[in-house]
């Protein structure tokens, strides 16, 4: 494992706490009726998002799923823009037109969240192809779940990336479940992503997705390979979601004790321990925690205070001219 400075560790802790706090806020706001529709929280997955983003440059591209709050925020979307989007506010990342499942922050090259399983994986291959065509050294990442490894688009995308040796990294967040069904019940191999890599002449990589440092290091290797023209990588990160699949899911299908076991390996706990180990004092850590609390609280208030997006928004942005006219 490479070394990381205290400052790096602290900044990751900060980011992961912000994500955790913002998602907790989203959950609470849902319960009070201020967030509508549906949300898929990523609490428990933060180390994947933050670790991977730490290995990227700002100009690199990231593509996510409906469970993408953590990826958007790890790339720079503010908690306020996230929460405002969930509350259909005009200050939301997509002005209320996208919602939780479609968070996008193009300014941060976070190219969007896609709610149909597998669909964004070829898109990530496309932005990698684009970098080759435009002769930049940008790398692309597609984040996806274990369940996405059984849909056709996943395979088509990896094969094309491997054949064209494109700078793209396929990062699977294996959290053991699809919606309510264990991935092991419907997959012919143990490691749904890693055990498929060989089908595209790529190495099998399975890592601890709850340790931000492990994730950063492995992704950094893949990024270096990709920038050097060495082609794609598949990285399977083992992790766990703390909430149910979506707000409608009490997650009763989990065997007893499973959640508790994973909570002991909560990525925030793991990182906190690292901070202590690297000599950061309890005071400093509490300082970060309190600061994040304040940041999230302010984000909540600002998002609440913002006006709903204007109803005219329903009829804009279909076409490049900003409008929705399909006939004269």
């Amino acid at each position: 494992m490479t070394n990381s400075t205290k400052e790096e560790l602290a900044s990751w802790y900060d980011q992961m706490l912000v994500i955790r706090g913002t998602e907790k806020a989203a959950y609470d706001l849902f319960m009070t009726g201020l967030v509508k529709g549906t949300t898929h929280l990523a609490s428990g997955h933060e180390a994947v998002a933050v670790g991977a983003s730490a290995a990227l440059k700002p100009e690199d591209y990231v593509w996510a799923t409906y469970r993408g709050h953590h990826h958007a925020m790890a790339r720079g979307l503010s908690p306020e823009a996230c929460l405002a989007e969930l509350m259909s506010k005009e200050t939301g990342a997509c002005r209320g037109k996208g919602g939780s499942m479609h968070l996008t922050s193009a300014a941060n090259n976070m190219m969007g969240s896609y709610a149909i399983i597998g669909s964004h994986i070829p898109m990530a291959v496309g932005s990698a192809w684009s970098a080759v065509l435009r002769k930049t050294d940008q790398v692309s990442i597609a984040f996806f779940g274990d369940g996405a490894t059984n849909i056709g688009a996943f395979h088509e995308a990896i094969n094309l990336a491997a054949v064209w040796k494109l700078p793209v990294i396929f990062i699977c967040e294996n959290n053991l479940y699809m919606e309510y069904t264990p991935i092991s019940a419907v997959t012919a191999v143990q490691h749904p992503a890693a055990d498929r890599a060989a089908a595209y002449s790529l190495p099998r990589i399975v890592i601890d997705g709850n340790d931000v440092l492990v994730v950063r290091d492995e992704v950094a290797k893949a990024v270096a390979l990709a920038r050097a023209g060495g082609g794609p990588s598949v990285i399977e990160c083992l992790t766990y979601r703390h909430y149910g699949h979506s707000r409608a899911d009490p997650a009763k299908y989990r065997p007893e004790g499973e959640l508790e076991e994973w909570m002991m390996r909560d990525p925030l706990k793991v990182l906190r321990a690292r901070l202590v180990e690297s000599g950061v004092s309890e005071d400093e850590i509490t300082g970060i925690e309190n600061a994040v609390d304040a940041v999230v609280k302010e984000a909540i208030e600002r998002a609440k205070d913002a006006p709903l997006s204007d109803i005219s928004e329903a009829f804009t942005d279909v076409w490049a001219d900003g409008g929705m006219q399909w006939r004269n």
Binding site: G37, E85, K97, A115, G118, G152, Y253, F315
Partner: protein, 326 residues
């Protein structure tokens, strides 16, 4: 009167009745077993019928529909669930190019008796990729039966017909209707495919819809009645077979029609129906043929925006009033 049941319960009940009746009926889909479906529309099935009748799958829409097809062609009657109708796009080759063409292109050698059920439509704030009404997609494909019920008892009666049909059926269950309630269906209830329901008789104007449109239309008719406008209300129930005769007969009486559809205006099913009325019913018409359809935009996430892009009771009443007045 028996207790009312929800549309959601009716789906599970309709499937259960067919599973009980015919041992060759099986269910296949994502999270439909112990999970009972993300909309709880397969509640109780796994408990009653177990894993040899209720099959949980990976996230593989092509394999789900393709495997159901292969089974249908070899002696089984599968009911496949595609969780959201938007995901029909993920297996559209099977829906559009395979299932509906096998009988024809084999010269009648092979039948494909299967049902693809799917949660259709908007109104729940699920955003652009989980809110579409795509019954018009299915209408574009010759060889598919297209069912879209609006009440619990129709769900049960049409499910019976769908499962027993020797032709492939796309069965649209409406997400925004799952929580609505209605009369339960008597034992053995079967609603024939392609028979529209005249829900309310009237003389001044014909209002036609299906599924989600129906509560809107019925409420509009009620409001119009209060103003002295007598609306005839038709629930098509199916797009294929299309009960065009029922609509034409109604227009012969009322001379005016509004078609209320959730799918976007462009390419919406109302276009096909309107074109039939504007041709075969032309001489009966006293007013322009009107369609109230979804706006030609993707579904916005925000509820207050989504409300803007779907037909409403108010818009229906306004238009009817103008049509009858003018």
């Amino acid at each position: 009167m028996a207790e009312l049941i929800t549309y959601r319960e009716a789906v599970a009940e309709g499937i259960a009745r067919e599973l009980r009746r015919d041992p060759s009926v099986v269910c296949i889909g994502e999270d439909i077993g112990a999970g009972e479906g993300v909309f709880k529309t397969t509640a109780g099935l796994f408990a009653e019928f177990g894993p040899t009748r209720i099959w949980d799958t990976p996230i593989s829409e092509q394999a789900i529909v393709g495997a159901a097809m292969g089974a249908a062609m070899t002696g089984v009657r599968p009911i496949a669930e595609i969780m959201f109708s938007d995901f029909l796009a993920c297996c559209w080759d099977f829906i559009a190019n395979e299932m509906p063409k096998v009988r024809y292109m084999t010269g009648g050698q092979v039948s494909v008796p299967m049902v693809v059920r799917t949660a259709n439509g908007g109104g729940l704030g699920f955003g652009a990729q989980h809110s579409q009404a795509v019954e018009n997609w299915a209408l574009t494909v010759p060889g598919l039966i297209v069912v879209a019920p609006s009440t619990p008892s129709d769900v049960i009666g049409l499910m019976a017909s769908a499962v027993r049909s020797d032709d492939p059926v796309i069965f649209f269950e409406h997400k925004a209707l799952f929580a609505t309630k209605g009369e339960p269906a008597p034992a053995g209830h079967v609603v024939p495919l392609g028979k529209a329901n005249v829900c309310r008789e009237g003389t001044d104007i014909t209002l036609v819809g299906l599924a989600w449109s129906m509560p809107i239309i019925l409420e509009a008719a009620e409001l119009l009645a209060a103003e002295g406008i007598s609306a005839e209300v038709i629930d098509l129930r199916c797009l294929v077979p299309l009960d065009a005769a029922c609509v034409l007969e109604s227009v012969a009486k009322t001379s005016r029609i509004i078609i209320v559809e959730e799918n976007p205006f462009q390419g919406g099913w109302g276009g096909t129906l309107a074109s039939i009325v504007a041709d075969e019913g032309f001489h009966d018409l006293d007013a322009p043929v009107k369609r109230l359809a979804g706006a030609s935009v993707p579904a916005p996430f925000a509820k207050h925006l989504e409300d803007q892009v779907l037909p409403s009771v108010g818009a229906t009443v306004d238009l009817a009033r103008r049509l009858v007045g003018g």
